[in-house]
């Protein structure tokens, strides 16, 4: 009974903190959540302009390709930072309330999942209106969940690194910029040799599968899917395990 009551209590905390973080993010904006959409849309416009008009890259459907890339990359970026941000913003709570630290960090990450859920629905609507939504679209849930697990696993590791190294935020910000260009977010992969290398990257694999399920009409290779799932689940398990092992020491170490 106690265990069940404690679990309900922790779920209450995760939900309340995640929702309040989400609301706080857009609370003072006149446009509210629409303001959160503006940033990726502006980036979309810039990338399309540069790649299509200046570099002459991108054929039919390139807008959708870039739109999907920007939406899910933005989620990955926000989620990996949200664990670290939760530790810095909720430090007072961690030092005054006996809570598993993992609950606070998970709540921070979940607020980015709320944004992802809303953006995914909007994305599906855009694809449907443009008439390019695949009947396989419901299967896109799988790579989206994989991307979420990957981002959460890395988010736990980044948050953990922050406990020891206060410049982790700066380092991860720089690493993300490199990772952005090492991942086919806004450019198409046009050579087999390049694909061999780029798709070793699990973020690239998730984006590939999300785009595939949203717009293609037949299944991709099973081996590709299985390896992606295994890698993402593995990173999540590693991040969560490492975090849980050290979480008791975090309130006094920050």
């Amino acid at each position: 009974m106690h265990l069940w009551r404690d679990r309900v209590r922790l779920l209450d905390i995760v939900r309340e903190v995640a929702v309040s973080d989400f609301r706080l993010k857009y609370n003072d904006s006149v446009l509210g959540y629409a303001w959160g959409l503006l940033s990726p849309l502006v980036m979309l416009g810039i990338y399309l302009g540069v790649f299509r008009k200046i570099l002459g890259i991108g054929g039919r459907g390139f807008e959708i390709y870039v739109l999907v890339g920007v939406v899910f990359w933005t989620f990955f970026q926000d989620c990996t930072f949200s664990g670290l941000n939760a530790l810095t913003r909720k430090l007072g709570i961690l030092r005054a309330v006996p809570l598993p630290v993992v609950v606070v960090v998970t709540s921070g990450m979940l607020s980015t999942f709320i944004t992802l859920a809303i953006n995914s629905v909007l994305l599906v609507l855009v694809l449907a209106v443009k008439g390019v939504l695949s009947p396989l679209a419901p299967f896109a849930i799988l790579p989206i969940v994989c991307l979420g697990l990957l981002a959460a696993g890395i988010g736990f590791l980044v948050a953990l690194a922050y406990v020891d190294f206060r410049d982790t935020g700066l380092i991860w910000h720089t690493a993300l910029q490199a990772l952005f260009w090492l991942t086919p977010v806004v450019y198409p992969v046009q050579s087999e040799a390049l694909a061999e290398v780029l798709y070793l990257n699990p973020i690239a694999r998730c984006l590939y599968l999300i785009r595939w399920f949203l717009t293609a009409s037949f299944f991709p290779a099973t081996r590709f899917i299985v390896l992606t799932v295994v890698f993402c689940v593995g990173v999540f398990a590693l991040g969560l395990y490492a975090f849980l092992r050290r979480q008791r020491m975090i309130p006094e170490s920050l």
Binding site: E16, R95, V97, P98, D164, F165
Partner: protein, 262 residues
């Protein structure tokens, strides 16, 4: 019941300037200050008893109550609690100014362990009890500090736990606020709840507590009737290390600084 046996706590605090990845790469390791915050602390608070912990800055009080609450793990020793704990260690922690009074009641309440369903049902009553019914939808940041403290205390006392842990939380309000808090705590005492207070305020402790424990340099140096213990406390010299960050609960308890590497 709270039973503390042989409790010790050692903090390893790295020098602030060395906590970057770059320096770690260059120097290969960090150096630490070793802080012996608690040494072999033992005491027992019986069910229905209100006990205060008194001590100068740096005596280990805040570390003690955080270990009892389960926030910090002990380096040695154990804490046994007979029931759920309501920690009131920092009133209003987790409040968000841009959110409404009602939203903050829900957020602060669930963080303190009060079931959300109960909070949703009782929120109007809580806001009214704090005297803020006219401000239910107002942004919390537009209220005065006193109003926020009233709200925080009213929410905190809704945590239906038989053991209260209170760390200087009542020191923030004005006289009327404190009188209200004391009245509410007396009601909890009559009900048979157990409490452990940490405070410098001898008048408050004498008014509320059955017994006092006096701490110095991370050790218990006396335990007994409030009047006697207050005399003992007044005779103590100030701690050797002054607090530099009383809000953290770590720096306040810096006792026995030693350098080490690791």
């Amino acid at each position: 019941m709270i039973e503390v046996t042989g409790l010790s706590k050692v903090f390893r605090v790295p020098h602030q300037s060395r906590r970057s990845f770059g320096r770690w790469l260059v120097e290969g390791r960090f150096t630490y200050e070793t802080l012996h915050a608690l040494s072999d602390v033992s005491f027992r608070v019986a069910n229905g008893e209100f006990v205060g912990v008194l001590g100068k800055n740096g005596s280990g009080k805040s570390t003690l109550i955080r270990i009892v609450a389960g926030i910090y793990p002990p380096s040695a020793g154990s804490v046994v609690l007979s029931g759920r704990v309501a920690p009131i260690l920092d009133l209003g922690v987790g409040f968000h100014g841009p959110l409404s009074v009602l939203d903050n009641v829900l957020l602060y309440g669930v963080v303190l362990g009060i079931p959300r369903r109960k909070l949703v049902a009782e929120a109007p009553e809580i806001v009214a009890a704090a005297g803020l019914e006219r401000f239910t939808d107002a942004r919390l940041e537009n209220l005065s500090t006193g109003m926020k403290m009233r709200l925080a205390f009213t929410v905190a006392l809704r945590a239906e736990a038989p053991i209260l842990l209170i760390d200087e939380a009542l020191a923030v309000g004005d006289e009327a606020f404190r009188e209200r808090c004391v009245a509410e705590l007396r009601r909890r005492r009559e009900r048979g709840d157990t409490a452990l207070f940490v405070s410098h305020e001898t008048v408050l402790l004498e008014a509320l507590c059955d017994r006092l424990i006096v701490m110095d340099q991370g050790r218990v140096v006396g335990a007994g009737r409030p009047a006697e213990m207050i005399g003992l406390y007044r005779g103590l010299r100030p701690a050797s290390v002054a607090p530099s960050d009383s809000a953290s609960g770590v720096a306040e308890d810096r006792v026995g600084l030693r350098s080490s590497t690791g």
